[in-house]
Symmetry: C2
Subunit: 286 residues, 2 copies
Amino acid sequence: MTTIIDGKKLAQKINLQTTKEVAKLKGQGIKPGIAVILVGDDPASKMYTRNKQRKAEKLGMNSILKTFPSDVSQQVILDEIKALNSDDTINAILVQAPLPQQIDADVITSAIVPSKDVDGFHPQNLGRLYANQAGNYPVACTPKGIMTILKEYHVPLVGQHAVIVGRSILVGKPMAALLLNEDVTVTVAGHHTKNLASLTKQADILIVATGVGHLIKAEFVKPDAVVIDVGIDHDDNGKLIGDVDFDAVKDVVGAITPVPGGVGPLTIATLMQQTVELTKWSQING
Amino acid sequence: MTTIIDGKKLAQKINLQTTKEVAKLKGQGIKPGIAVILVGDDPASKMYTRNKQRKAEKLGMNSILKTFPSDVSQQVILDEIKALNSDDTINAILVQAPLPQQIDADVITSAIVPSKDVDGFHPQNLGRLYANQAGNYPVACTPKGIMTILKEYHVPLVGQHAVIVGRSILVGKPMAALLLNEDVTVTVAGHHTKNLASLTKQADILIVATGVGHLIKAEFVKPDAVVIDVGIDHDDNGKLIGDVDFDAVKDVVGAITPVPGGVGPLTIATLMQQTVELTKWSQING
């Protein structure tokens, strides 16, 4: 029997824990605060941003939104980040992707102070993760949420072979780092990979984040594999689908995340969880 | 016919270029400077340090050595790094590994200003590399030297499958990052990996950095693979050997680095090359 991983249920569990942590901080006179910077009026970005804000408020946190027109200069965004970096009521700062062409995402990413970098994209945080450094630092929320799934579902890690399809700093690269740090053998594939199926078929754990709907078919997976689908795509009828052909794959593998209801809810729950963690760490560090 | 990669010859070529760059800088009144911090009296560390110093001087650079007893406190080393960070005559700082137990290597690594971090171990530099950021930043010298080998020998990269055995921040992790950035499919294996031979046998490019002498035998490699051996081990008779059983593997593969005379000379030539690069970048940035 294939396990259908219930991302919604697991997200609720994390949110419950976050609510408790927020209440505990409230007793100390502290309210975690998250600031979201939104540039332009991409409808999807607006929706994601609104969801994050609502969730933060529902969990008892402060949430502020800073919106800018799509032709805003990079300097204006940098000035805003600078102000938020030194704002004691803000513990987490995120800049909603994508950014317009005149803004260099690398510059923006490096401008957020590492201790408020709730997306974990700052090179210093990514580097600490990749180096497997001890201590407290934020990690990209989607892969961090996937680790929560793997642990919650008792997926064996040490010595297993994970294949990650996709190499972004949102998912693929931090995911590879997290798994290497758990003594997993890791293969990272991309759109240049030849014979993708022969690689993915070796995976004990298959993580797919490509944005190519239904890329992974039944013949791409090993029986009993654990399949994590990060894709959010639409089929020809506008129906939400993942990077994995769920109906074809689900009877072959051991466990699989659905789309929607798999990784998605975990990402936002992890974002909230990490906002609280950043708040607590800022208390420790001064 | 198997290509035996000539690391010495390639190192000489790089050193010649470095000498020219040093002469050019001299014309501008600039002399690159490298500072090496050595803690304790491990004979191998002393030898490596001496080699680096001699090479730097031979190439016309300033080289200073700061030695400390093995019971030195971490604070003393941090104070020394702080002084070197603000010393305008020093462009490159490295702390020779290994460090004694009372010193936290992560703290030391993060204390060196990223612009003088010639080993490329600072999390910010490692993170920038892993994120494939544009711009100038140092990269760990052994994997950077291996990229020079792969390019000099016209080894195809895009879409090829590299298997890296070993996950250190000296070799395996930055190597994986460099190859991912060149659109290579990358597998990173470690001592926990099951069925190592079945993985390494898939490699178009096999890079081994484990410290386990003769780990890789003929049945571990694919015909025509390019094999890069980073190991420096000793057999029972005290003879220098690599992680690859050279005599057994060399007739199977397409190209292979010997030990000694393969990767080793490239590492030190790259260290010198990167010292000059850091010097030039410091002119650009201020």
